[in-house]
Symmetry: C2
């Protein structure tokens, strides 16, 4: 384990917090960020993680050094964590790391986030969710409409992994792109497009 420069352990949030899930999914977040940086460097897509929403209450301004926030609180996000542009389309998704062995608890998704995804879809965006089933070391991309329709008729408060396996698409891992979700996005959302030529050229570029 690598310590922070200030000597804090990487796990300090998770170990002290029974109720916060700020540190859950940090590995997934890291992998998505790495992949997004790759996409950006190849000029394939512009997709960023939004900053964690924080309510700032108190700020100190010490002389000759940076402003220091001394009191702030986590806010409930009203949108998803990731959005951007790919092949001319607006793209929006949420990513969740699932620690359970059997099902994903819906308590980890805020209702606002599903409402947000629905709104983005109505306006023509490409919307999906990424689930990392940590115990099985597999990442799935699930179309947002499919998931929302399923959740609406769901009686229990969790999504069984069997449903994710049936309806999701396994996201491939490559060197430099630990979670290459755009490969699935191409297959799912651009299959009808005529610009297959362009796509193939991009894939070639990627493989270099």
């Amino acid at each position: 384990m690598v310590n922070y420069p200030n000597g804090l352990k990487k796990t300090w949030i998770a170990s002290q917090s029974p109720t916060t899930f700020a540190d859950r999914g940090m590995n997934l977040e890291k992998d998505i960020n790495t992949t997004n940086t790759y996409y950006l460097s190849m000029d394939r897509a512009v997709i960023h993680k939004k900053p964690t929403p924080v309510q700032i209450v108190k700020v100190d301004y010490p002389k000759r050094s940076a402003a220091k926030i001394t009191e702030a609180y986590f806010k409930i996000p009203s949108t998803t964590d990731y959005n951007g542009i790919y092949r001319g389309k607006y793209l929006d998704f949420e990513a969740k790391e699932c620690q359970s062995k059997t099902a994903f608890s819906l308590s980890y998704i805020h209702p606002h986030q599903l409402t947000h995804l629905e709104a983005c879809m109505r306006h023509g965006g490409i919307c999906f969710l990424i689930f990392r089933l940590s115990h099985y070391n597999t990442d799935y991309l699930v179309d947002a409409k499919l998931l929302i329709d399923y959740v609406k008729q769901l009686k229990r408060k969790s999504i069984p992994y069997s449903w994710i396996r049936e309806n999701g698409h396994i996201i491939p891992r490559y060197y430099g792109r630990p979670i290459h979700y755009l490969e699935i996005v191409d297959k799912l959302y651009f299959k009808d497009e005529e610009d297959m030529h362009e796509s193939k050229q991009e894939e070639k570029k990627d493989q270099q």
Copy 2:
């Protein structure tokens, strides 16, 4: 002046900080947020402000109350403040409140942000900047390409207002939409589209 519930003055950031501009443009931000909420409620567009990027260093977890961030710092944003989807298109912009009487200093825009806007444009996004000339009580929308091309050949470190007036478009203000920038977006970026009918219907809906 209205105080915060904790008794702090609204101006506490600006008055204590010679180097931070976190509080500058708060009125503009408020107006854009109000307008975006209106767009969302009318299902006209899904556009949100990204949270302020903050580097969280220390978090306390008091028993039976919310996690409290006790040490954090402002980070330099790598993207713009606003993005979303409108009429099927990815939309991305930065907004700046200008206090000077004659020119906008480029020191208030991070080079990353212009690079980000350029990347979004390459991928087919609608990109622009909003300038509020506070002293003249007027808001302008300036196309990002126009601005970036201008900045690249600029020798000084500021944009004279005369340039903004010549190349920008005055953004109208309406009740409930204090900065109705989508009206300009329609004129600038959708003029060639054939779905004028749809647009007119939307405007009618807006005026109701």
